[in-house]
Symmetry: D2
Subunit: 362 residues, 4 copies
């Protein structure tokens, strides 16, 4: 249970890091949307291992196949199933892991819950599972763009204590993709890259913060009181591997202001639209989009797998030590960017369809 | 849509701040649980207005009535409906609000979404809606306590920049309730109270951070990959009015550590249980509880309604100004504590039932 | 669990036959719909006990109160909660029932499942629960009528072996309500009424078939492959008390025809619309409405409670006998008509909103 | 939307008759269940085309591949994805169908709903979609058998007006599989086979009734008031292609009895269990299983595709005629048996897990 996300635009992901493959079934996609495997592949390539010198060198080309739901290049309104085969398994890297629990991984909790687990490379708890999310997110993004001109753009805002300066109102995908760390502040990006390389050479890892903006979101999306837009986004990104915190708009920093300082005053813009002068609300008020930019932050912890030795235990209750042997990311942030974008896009698309219905939106 | 929360222990809330009343229907409560209106009332009294000098002086006694689902003092396994009548309406306070949008409130977005709203006191977007959540949370807490000895304790950790020192492993409900701001650090509490009084006298407002701990949570709760325990908790608390941020375990601060510093090493305790030396994971690994304390933080913004005048617009597109006239909270934190506890308890109870089934858990 | 029905137009019912009351929360009702308690009461009066000489003489006026979701006579788009208080309890009628299981009732299974039950008058398994459905159905009907001119009309087609002749394409509510058995064939109706009176005098009971037609249903409603329109309707009516069978279109009788006889040939009508010559499909093809009349049949068994003595057992495993003592319906059919209409209307309304979205349909 | 079925044991099917393939994702399967592709293939072979002289001669071997959720022969508790590739497409058979709507098929309604359809062989509305259901049903059956010894056995009870005599309490899978029409009454079976062959030679088609029994079902399954066991089963089987009617227990025939005749009297059996003398309730009372055999009937209409010419229209509004050209079933009943079994097993398994939780049931 728990592998389905969304209400009208609803995805179900499947697959372990090892075994036949990973993928997603997307139910509720509007009919008559033009979509190609290449558009999906573009996003998958942004999350795949081996894409640059600062991510894991595992070679996985992660080629997607659309199994259903698309006919003559257009969606049918029926479930879209997308499959990415698993390859390049090096189970010998993982032998030790059949016994030893990796610290701050899910090995121990999966054993506690299910009494059995696929110990090859993390199984279902591997970030490889997010392939299905990113594939579905590519479709959600296209719907959002086509129906309402919505843009969803994520980027690395901070690596450890190195923070970039980025204007969420102006940042472009091109800027994000202009460097391998996906921080649009070129100068900060270089320092981040240097730090990640240093950390990798130490056999250690680091984390940071991904920011994501959604622009041109129509007013009125979000379903109080539980399916508020920020609540659904929070659930989406907090279900990503390694995420530890979430902020909408002013976030934790907003708690240091007074109400007089924090409130977003209203004004009428040149087109007669009700707008806010500031955007501490982050584009959502009362759980409903207000037409301003939706801006969120997601904290990602340092990668759990490191080459340094740490204390752990076995599944038989013996204390031991473990040093990571596989080829792992010293920092997940660059690859987390498309994952965050995907979750934001999936939530927005779901709420767009709740507002418009599935079949009439396009 | 969006007024239902939970999968097996599922609540649906209803009601506006004005009108017949507010309440909740709880579906999936295990049968044979002893429950009294007084146990529910205890939690409602912790969230009600007028309970102390630092919250809104509105007098609402918020007396609950159990309409169904309980027979001879025990739950039937059928839906439990709980109703709190609305009273003490001072609609004249709200006259201006039928026209003017309150900054950083939901007035404008409700109009944008529904084309119509109850402008009396916030309608559905009023925090009064949380009565249903807190009532249901009282029952969830009792189930958790009875089945597994789980304790869910929330408290004010920070008001603006005033932070209390609290040990989540040892804090008691008695300590939380020992002062009106609900910060177990007595010395910090006094400074917080003084600050809130000062801010109220200024006609301004402030926010802060509520921390919540769940102790004795059984291992194995949580349903990857989307219904991870922290994802469901994040959704729950981010659906509370005024919440702007969420952290599990090390949260945003954890992004400043390296993996070597951040990882929770395992050990075997004196009872042979697999435990972690540190708890930066916050009691959840891979979306599944690991038996350590679950610790979360929730950021609440400063109350939007203030007596100071601010710029706004009317529902007819005219620019104007507005100064709050009603009796409002200068700081929502003391009353938010039972709301956060309720959401955490609801999520844990739902996942407990997913693990055990509804009818056999007690 | 299991007390919620619908996906976008979603109802949750609550309440036992005895206790505080019964009711419903309707989530997802479009905003700006004009609705009065009287419109809801009209339908409740069609299902209430004591309405005529052939139903139970229990006096329950079943007056409804709208607790939330309606403001100044119009829906807000927020949850509509409707409450009907319980009254006129004669628990002494039920004393024996705290021990003895009534044959073909739910007493024994509720005890087996929940280990505890409200034995006063059937508790949750009482047909009194359907008050919430009928109240919600009144609103669903109004939405259907207003958005698309849809009419949902049910009627008694058969009582035991007495069958009326009714044209589903032409029958009116006025005809249905023109006699107390709700069979629009006046001559058959009189024979049915005579039979019911005779059976009641025998202390026995009878069943029959309710037919229900939905006219002017827009093409395109229904969500294959599981939420086909007939599948959702089947679930809805098979969840009514005492229902034992369901047919769409040709039903069981259709199995006696060949494909050549059974197929609905297409033609183009004078307005250029694609229509079918016959309607053995019952208005639904491939799970999707085709614009023809939707016609269903529901079988209701004879009322389980009878005055004749029958063999049974106690909750302690002793064999005994029981003769019904309360004031019961000799035939549920006349009161079942509004229940069937309600379930059909709820399903159609839910699918209408899936097609159009909640907020923009009106 | 609408391609997911179940609450705790939840399946999502995907795929059109043509294109990459069809399949299913099963979420919520208990961990540690031993399962092989062969066990799934056994059921798929019972539904596949070309299995005998009385079904369609299309050659589809329908070989399944388990993509995820199974490791070293045992389920992981993670989603099980099963894929069957499409083959043997003869699109030239279908050329005419890109224009002409087949009478009593879903071509016209899919066009009305989605504005676009895969006209090759029925696309999503093809019975080929049920492959995913039958594969999931194989797993559900195994869980039911292993946890509680539940047996789910379906069989052909009637073909047109030829009815077999079968004892639901004693019938075996071996008897069902002993002839190609799947009617355990050997003598009736032969007459049925002869009739089907005759009808096929006429280019016509026929329907009938499948009966299904579930034995050894534990007491207490079913979730009133909407998710009653018979309501969920009704939805499941009424979502199957070509089904037109559903009965539980006495069904429509029960409406001809009086309450005194129809009620199931209770007694205490030799083991002290509460049992019923008769079983007109069909094993379910008040929506909850009572431990007696669950017995249902499902009416299937005659196959819509026939070789005889019939009147129809094109998607451009022209009247025309059509005679089926492909290789079609003269009678779907023999292949519908495993489909009905699958839907019954899926519902029972879902309710079993609601009662026991996912992870602890095995």
């Amino acid at each position: 249970m728990g592998n389905t996300f969304g209400h009208l635009f609803r995805i179900t992901t499947f697959g372990e890091s090892h075994g036949g493959g990973v993928g997603v079934v997307i139910d509720g996609c509007p009919p008559r949307l033009e979509i190609t495997p290449e558009e999906i592949q573009f996003e998958l390539d942004r999350r795949r291992p081996g894409q640059s010198k600062i991510v894991t060198p595992r070679k996985e080309d992660d080629t997607c196949e659309i199994l259903s739901g698309v006919f003559e290049g257009k969606t049918l309104g029926t479930p879209i199933s997308i499959l990415v085969r698993n390859k390049n398994t090096r189970a010998q890297d993982y032998d030790e892991m059949s016994m030893k629990y990796r610290p701050s991984h899910a090995d121990a909790t999966y054993d506690a819950k299910y009494g059995f687990r696929n110990w090859e490379g993390g199984g279902r708890s591997s970030a490889r599972e997010t392939i299905g999310r990113v594939a579905a997110g590519a479709i959600a993004k296209k719907i959002l763009r086509q129906v309402a001109g919505v843009e969803v753009i994520g980027y690395v805002k901070r690596i450890k204590d190195l923070e970039g300066i980025v204007d969420p109102g102006a940042v472009t995908l091109e800027q994000v993709e202009s460097n391998i760390v996906r921080c649009p502040d070129a100068e900060a990006a270089q320092r981040m890259i240097d730090l990640i390389e240093k950390i990798r050479n130490d056999g250690n890892s680091i984390g940071g913060v991904v920011e994501c903006v959604a622009r041109n979101v129509p007013k009125g999306l979000g379903e109080p009181v539980f399916d508020k837009l920020e609540a659904d986004i929070a659930k989406g990104v907090m279900s990503l591997p390694a995420s530890k915190g979430f902020e909408i708009g002013s976030g934790f920093g907003g708690t240091l202001l007074t109400g007089f300082e924090h409130n977003d005053e209203f004004y009428i813009d040149e087109n007669g639209n009700t707008r806010t002068v500031t955007n501490r609300s982050g584009g959502i008020q009362g759980g409903i989009s207000n037409g301003e930019n939706i801006i969120i932050n997601v904290a990602f912890k340092p990668t759990a797998t490191i080459r340094k030795e740490q204390k752990t235990v076995t599944n038989e209750g013996e204390e031991t030590t473990l040093a990571g042997k596989g080829r792992h990311d010293p920092c997940v942030l660059p690859r987390a960017v498309p994952m965050v974008e995907a979750m934001v896009a999936l939530v927005l698309c779901d709420h767009l369809l709740r507002h418009h219905g599935q079949c009439k939106v396009l």
